[in-house]
């Protein structure tokens, strides 16, 4: 039962990263690809009706984690206290930037929100990457099952490490470049004109950075977290996950050269899926590795009681079918390129 929920939550987090990833990425490149007011409204219109729904995957995954692995939720959320609070502030700033920008047209209003939207998206991408890096690297859990990580200590991989060290920063930079590519491809897919072309060029350049960093981080990760190699030896079919990532990465290049916008974007999604599932596969059965392996938290030690998990499975499946239905409907309703008339809100009425 614990392993089922481990997989289900991994799926939810992956969906979150795929969906919110493109709107975070669109934010991170906002100032770089969209120069005029009209172009900026094109970028915003491409995510306007969906970003909030995308972000709900974070909440739903968080809630599901809470109910299925309460011990993990308690330990990791209190241990990552400071970075999570910073993430919250960034999410607040980002949400209001997207929604409030188009309310007033003034030389002191929209540039402010454009800047905040871009900056908060950039920082969120780095923080989410660093968070993933922390989970892979392991945290200073002790026998009590709790820990508290400061934002940084000496940036080395010691026993008393902070949220940011050289490894997690590197993962953060990788995450940022990946989401910039992912977001760029989304903007390319949804917009027309100069902004789409700039986004495409940016994504194309970022691809090289993503490829180089992926190779580097992969090599380093095998050293930082030995469990991954162990799992791959025990279950060789697990190689399918890194293979997906490589295939996705190759696909981005291949379809980009053929100017197939949709398949390029989907390849980027495939790459992200491959990377995340590789991590999840690699750390199993741990849900939160500790710097001292004796204290690592596992699926079995963190899960809630079986009755609740079984009941949960019933409503979760129903809920996910409904959610999949809503998302299909919404994305269909807003399919195609966005059209921004001068002085309108995009999809406007």
């Amino acid at each position: 039962m614990g392993t089922i929920w481990f997989c289900l939550i991994a799926i939810m987090i992956t969906v979150y990263v795929l969906l919110d990833g493109f709107d975070l990425g669109a934010g991170a490149i906002h100032l770089f690809v969209a120069k005029t007011d009209e172009e900026r409204r094109q970028v915003l219109a491409s995510i306007g009706p969906v970003w909030d729904g995308n972000e709900v995957w974070l909440l739903a995954a968080g809630g599901t984690l809470y109910f299925a692995f309460p011990v993990l939720y308690a330990s990791s959320f209190s241990g990552f206290y400071l970075p999570l609070m910073i993430v919250l502030w960034l999410l607040i700033l980002r949400g209001i930037s997207i929604e409030f920008r188009n309310h007033i047209k003034s030389a002191v209003w929209d540039p402010l929100w454009d800047f905040l939207f871009c900056a908060s998206s950039l920082l969120l991408a780095v923080f989410f990457g660093a968070a993933l890096g922390n989970v892979v690297r392991g945290v200073p859990l002790d026998a009590s099952g709790y820990f508290f990580e400061p934002l940084w200590t000496d940036f080395r991989l010691s026993e008393r490490t902070g949220i940011l060290d050289w490894y997690t920063i590197l993962v953060g930079v990788l995450a940022l470049s990946v989401l910039m590519m992912h977001g760029g491809l989304w903007v390319r897919l949804k917009t027309t004109g100069a902004v789409g072309e700039r986004a495409c060029r940016l994504a194309s350049r970022t691809w090289w950075m993503v490829t180089a960093l992926t190779a580097l981080v992969t090599v380093l990760t095998f050293r930082v977290q030995p469990q991954i190699m162990k799992n791959l030896r025990t279950w060789p079919w697990g190689f399918v996950f890194p293979f997906l990532a490589v295939a996705g990465l190759a696909g981005v290049r291949w379809f980009m050269a053929r100017r197939d916008e949709k398949k390029t974007f989907l390849s980027s999604a495939l790459y992200l899926t491959g990377m995340l599932t590789s991590v999840v596969f690699g750390v199993y059965p741990m849900v939160l590795p500790a710097r001292n392996p004796l204290h690592s938290m596992t699926v079995m030690s963190a899960k809630a009681a079986d009755y609740g998990l079984k009941i949960g499975l019933a409503w979760w499946v129903v809920g996910m079918i409904l959610a999949a239905g809503y998302f299909t409907y919404v994305y269909r309703s807003f399919a195609g390129k966005v059209a921004v008339e001068k002085n309108s809100h995009g999809y406007g009425d």
Partner: protein, 448 residues
């Protein structure tokens, strides 16, 4: 540790109080939007659609603030109350996860369609979008109230081998009697907020003699829905809540009412200042025997005062609890008076000309926000010293490794951030009201 505990409490109290300003209006307006869209559909009058579009813009601004201030609430269960989450996550994680899976997906998907898709969806489709946003937001309200209700009146659980609290009955958790009454009471409060805001904007238009057609629609909708909500707020929902507290949290009832000594034929304190040190109520203005009657339907019934309970069972902020409760009840009474008067004037066809009642409706607008906040403070302060009533004390629930300094840091951060949000909220709402509901109203409308 104790020092950190107080900051953790303040942290949650501040962020949740600020957060709830927005959902109460969201939930209230969601209902009224369905009302306006239904009117539009049934009468075929485009006026109602324009009115709905105006309120949808206000709804949109308010909704975003509800979302961004809501995310910190879910996170804080883990960040600040880790020991509580570890013990009880298997139970209340159910309702919190269901909120994400069932209501947030629904709400966010259809809000996008409701705000941006009127042309694409057609008349019927757009009504459905409004209706599903309403269902999503009200379902979310239920799941949160069910979570709180379990903390007030834990049920459907058993204690596991390691002392963790396990869920024993899914339906027992969802159909907790406390949850059902608290939900009804809470949603009526939210409805009243929506009604007072709508009526106040309408009254403002009528008093300033602009957009008067809309002004009349808004005042009528606010008053007609509001009068029903105001009455149901008191009876049966408020009455039942009081009975549940009397039955299951007797020290809380005594503290709320400022009743220090057990008494037959206990009086109801209308005004007065509790003096906890001397265990008496200063300057009391009381209705004799009324508390006994309200609680047990007998004038001479025995009501247990605080001295009947060991002091470690007393709520730890008695004056604040007493005032919260009295503010809630006092304002609720005022709402009934205002709404009933307005409804009578509407019935006599004098409502739109009676400037005094329009003034009153307009000036009442902050009061339902205060009443809802006071109501929640009554519930949460009343639950003290327990985090889960009878099961876990608040003192044992906070995150063991998060120190006071870090909590102050984030509390100050939230104070700053939320001050900015409050200013933006008021500014943008005022701007929408100023632009008004008429499509050609104001040159700024071109932006939309």
């Amino acid at each position: 540790m104790n020092q950190a505990l107080d900051v953790h409490r303040l942290h949650f109290a501040f962020t949740v109080t600020f957060h709830y300003i927005f959902p109460q209006l969201t939930m209230g307006l969601a209902l009224l939007l369905v009302y306006l869209k239904t009117k539009a559909l049934r009468t075929g009058d485009e006026h109602y659609n324009r009115a709905a579009r105006f309120w949808a813009r206000i709804f949109g601004i308010n909704f975003v603030l509800g979302v961004v201030t809501g995310i910190p609430m879910e996170f804080q269960f883990g960040t600040n109350w880790a020991a509580f989450s570890k013990a009880a996550g298997g139970v209340i994680g159910q309702t919190l996860a269901m909120e994400g899976v069932f209501s947030f997906f629904l709400e966010s998907s259809f809000l996008g369609l409701f705000l941006f898709g009127e042309k694409r969806l057609g008349r019927m489709g757009h009504w459905w979008a409004a209706f599903l946003v309403f269902v999503g937001s009200w379902l979310s309200g239920f799941l949160i109230v069910a979570t709180d209700a379990w903390m007030q009146f834990p049920t459907a659980y058993r204690i596991g081998a390691n002392g963790e609290i396990e869920l024993a009955s899914f339906w027992g958790l969802l159909l907790n009697k406390w949850a059902l009454w608290q939900y009804a009471h809470n949603m009526l409060g939210a409805t009243q907020t929506g009604c007072f805001v709508m009526a106040a904007v309408g009254a403002f238009y009528l008093l300033t003699k602009r957009d008067e057609v809309y002004g009349r629609t808004f005042v009528r909708a606010g008053v007609l829905v509001g009068v029903v909500a105001a009455l149901l707020q008191l009876f049966p929902t408020g009455d039942m809540q009081g009975k549940l507290v009397a039955e299951h949290q007797p020290p809380t009832l005594a503290a709320m009412e400022g009743l220090f000594h057990t008494q037959q034929g206990a009086p109801l304190a209308i005004l007065g200042q509790p003096d906890v040190e001397k265990r008496k109520l200063d300057n009391p203005l009381e209705v004799p025997n009324m508390l006994s009657f309200l609680t047990y339907k007998r004038w001479g019934a025995n009501v247990r005062g605080l001295d009947d309970f060991p002091q470690d069972q007393w709520p730890d902020r008695i004056p604040l609890l007493y005032y919260s409760y009295h503010v809630m009840v006092g304002l609720g009474t005022i709402f009934i008076a205002v709404m009933v008067l307005a409804a009578l004037l509407y019935w006599r066809k004098k409502l739109y000309e009676s400037r005094w009642i329009l003034w009153l409706l307009m000036l009442c607008v902050p009061l339902p926000f205060i009443a809802n906040t006071a109501g929640w403070m009554t519930a949460e302060l009343g639950r003290q010293p327990w985090l889960i009533y009878g099961l876990m004390r608040t003192a044992h629930g906070a995150s063991p490794m998060v120190g006071a300094g870090n909590v102050w840091f984030t509390l100050i951060g939230f104070l700053g951030m939320y001050s900015v949000l409050a200013i933006l909220w008021l500014f943008l709402l005022w701007r929408e009201i100023e632009i008004g509901p008429e499509p050609s109203g104001g040159k700024l409308m071109a932006m939309r």
